[in-house]
Amino acid sequence: MSALIIRRFIQMIFLLIGISFIVFISMHLAPGDPASIIGGPTATKADILGIRQRLGLDQPILVQYWNYLVGLLHGDFGVSFQTQRSVAAELFTRLPNTINLAIASVIVSVIIGIPAGIISALKQNSWLDVFSTTLSLGGISIPNFWLGAMLILVFAVHFQWLPVGGLDAPFWTLQGFKEMILPAITLGTGSAAMIARMGRSSMLEIIHSDFVRTARAKGVKERVVIWVHCLRNAMIPVITVIGLNFGFLLGGTIITEQVFAINGIGRLMIESIGSRDFPMVQGAVLLVAAIFVFVNLVVDIVYALIDPRINYD
């Protein structure tokens, strides 16, 4: 296991350097000039030239990348073109909001998804199953921005039970908990649906497998068969989905953050792409990529814990 972790960490470094190169080059090749965006439509030619020089954009692109990479290897993510603040500082102000939101929505998706999957597998082809599968299909199909807007209209504007947006209070307070509910549901619904579908098919497969039949034949109680024998085995693919989803949620919080006015990485990334804030986009992509890779590693480790047959050495 330790060899695996070390190997994966070394791979991760090369992977991230590769990502940094691709992001850097593609940002610079994309149309749109950061200087003319900072200057805005009202800037004159001379204004824009001045800004370009200040940002170092007048140097050859490979020189710019080399300088960036050297900085990166020293742990320096650079300085935002727009706000002139350290990219690392900007990222770490927003990361907690995004991680909290991603975790909360994973919790929502697990709370909804796993029971729904199990129930529809156990009561296959019953009305409960049809209901749950239909709901899952809906959950995957409904776009986040629409669901978010509807939840706001009903629970925040009409009933006024929950705040409209913002994550202002710490999450362990009642206010913070309330602020998290709507965004977490909005973001979590899609993955809940995926978990339910995956849970259902995986559970069905296990229920009909030989060892379950043997267990039943031995006279093991149905409850034990389901909860001990089936569930543990059925959870392996579900955990993959949860782990991957967590990665996607980190990068995919953009729309939810936008709708609920949450100051997170997704929103930062969208703003920075819009303003061609190259160092900020590069930093954010690298951070999300690093977390994604890390989460995958954790999923692999959890696998080994659940299923002793899996051995990475």
């Binding site: 800037a43 706000t83 504007v157 409209v164 947006g165 710490p170 819009g274 480790i301 814990l305």
Partner: protein, 518 residues
């Protein structure tokens, strides 16, 4: 055993990351929640929501309206505009004189201090302006002072600005938010983008980048302390959410209400709205480098084809129709311009198009993908179709659009100009002046007579002469029609009905000094 040990370690690392994340989120968010508590009506606090983030808080280094909203409360300019008449009046300056047409002698008010205690004197003014125009600074609006030759201090309270040529819009430039005066001591010590120090009625208390900026009143403000104790500027990127927050009391004040939301906002209980003619203009521009856009007859035909009354009507009153390029709220406007131009007349349009064989002509219409421009694009496309012109809309993300629109890469496009100086020269010169082709003059209009008139309006200090020159330049441009003026903007705001004193200037600027809650 070893395997489990590592697994546990990996878990601990993950948990550690999450926990540190959570704790710092608490620290950053904890103090923000108190902002919206003004619903009791007693607390002199207010939360304002805007759809983008504050970029920085140095007037020298920024050029965006969102940061400007905050800067307007922290810093002050030498001159300012009267909210009603738009006339320029002294602010930090007490008076000024022009001994010759290239010299501006500005006398400052006595006893003004920045919030860090530094005196606001001639030295501070010189420092600010020298920094703004120094090419090494790379200031986005260095052009405001491009006409300046030298700045000297005569005594502690007198600044002398010499220009290379007589420069007409000098006072307009000095009342622009980007030429606000900064504290030299603070600027040398710290980065004003993060830690601003000005002489205005409010000071920075807290800033969580991307989320909110909180200001508190400056107790030593030279005109006496402001009525509000605390103001929070919160970022709410989605307009629907913004309006919902206004409705539920999470925010108290919003601006720039989109026209399709105006009815909803006006019908909210406990909310007051305000609207006023603004200085912004939106236009359909012809790329004059290309055929047939360089043909006046073609431009006339397009002008005749577009029903701008119908366009303005669907703006729900948030736009006014005018034939004049220089809008009614801008220095240099003359009512007589309204009778010029080419008003809606589809029959005439069809006739010109037929005569010149442009029937079925395909046009590349470049449209930035913001809601307002997309709307314009669809309406214009539809109206041009009726007269036989086939406009193909090509939408583009804003950042790319800014780049592409500056090059010869489109036939027609939509753009706007906010005109924060409210001076006609500052509209005609950047947008239609021959010097600015390849930059802000996206249509590449280059007319000798026009250039001379605009130059004369800029390089004259006699305001009556300037007005006359601008009037003539405006008339010439209207007749030449490099633009079809779509509408002149309207500034809007919506706020809780217990707030008093909010006054939005035609430029979109507002100042919270006199605002209070009853």
């Amino acid at each position: 055993m070893k395997r489990i040990g590592f697994s546990i370690l990996a878990f601990l690392v993950l948990v550690g990351i999450v926990l540190t994340g959570c704790s710092s989120s608490g620290a950053s968010g904890g103090s923000a929640s108190s902002g919206g508590s003004g619903s009791s009506g007693k607390a002199q606090e207010m939360t304002f929501a805007q759809t983008s983030k504050v970029v920085g808080l140095s007037p020298t280094m920024t050029n965006d309206s969102v940061s400007q909203n905050v800067l307007n409360q922290i810093y002050e300019t030498l001159f300012t505009r009267d909210p009603e008449t738009m006339e320029i009046k002294p602010n930090l300056a007490k008076s000024y004189e022009t001994p010759d047409d290239k010299t501006w002698v500005i006398h400052l008010n006595k006893g003004i201090k920045f919030s860090d205690g530094t005196p606001l004197n001639a030295e501070a003014v010189k420092y600010t302006f020298d920094k703004l125009r120094d090419p090494k600074t790379g200031a986005p609006r260095a052009s405001l002072l491009s006409a300046v030759d030298s700045i000297t201090t005569q005594d502690d309270l007198t600044v002398v600005i010499k220009t290379k040529k007589p420069y007409g819009p000098m006072l307009a430039a000095l009342s622009h938010g980007n030429s606000a005066i900064i504290s030299p001591t603070a600027d040398k010590k710290q980065d004003l983008m993060k830690k601003p120090v000005g002489s205005g009625p409010f000071m920075l208390k807290e800033w969580v980048p991307g989320d909110h900026v909180t200001l508190v009143k400056n107790p030593d403000y030279w005109k006496g302390p402001a009525k509000l104790d605390k103001v929070t500027f919160k970022v709410v990127p989605d307009v629907n959410t913004e309006i919902s927050m206004l409705q539920t009391g999470q925010v108290d004040f919003i601006e720039n209400v989109p026209s399709e939301q105006w009815d909803r906002v006006q019908n909210l209980k406990g909310i007051k709205t305000t609207k006023k003619a603004g200085t912004a203009v939106s236009y359909l521009g012809f790329n004059l480098r290309r055929e047939p856009m360089n043909n006046l007859e073609f431009r006339k035909a397009i002008s005749y084809a577009i029903d701008r009354d119908a366009y303005v009507k669907q703006l729900n009153g948030l736009g006014t129709k005018s034939n004049s390029i220089i809008g009614p709220k801008i220095f240099g406007y003359d009512k007589s311009a309204e009778s010029l131009g080419y008003d809606y007349d589809p029959e005439k349009a069809k006739q010109i198009i037929k005569e010149n064989g442009w029937d079925g002509k395909q046009i590349d219409l470049l449209v930035a993908n913001t809601a307002a421009y997309m709307q314009m694009g669809q309406i214009v496309q539809d109206q041009l179709k009726k007269v036989g012109i086939n406009a193909k809309i090509r939408t583009m993300e804003w950042g790319t659009f800014l780049d592409v629109s500056k090059q010869d890469k489109f036939d027609m496009t939509f753009l706007g100009w906010s005109n924060s100086t409210a001076d006609g020269s500052e509209l005609l010169y950047p947008n239609l002046g021959g010097d600015n082709i390849g930059a802000s003059n996206v249509v590449a209009f280059n007319n000798k007579k026009f250039n001379t008139l605009v130059d004369e309006s800029r390089y004259t200090v006699d305001q009556d002469v300037r007005k006359e020159k601008l009037k003539k330049a405006n008339e010439l441009a209207i007749k030449q029609a490099p633009w079809v003026v779509m509408d002149h903007g309207v500034v809007t705001g919506a706020y809780k009905d217990d707030i008093e004193g909010i006054d939005i200037l035609p430029t979109g600027d507002w100042f919270l000094y006199n605002v209070s809650r009853k």
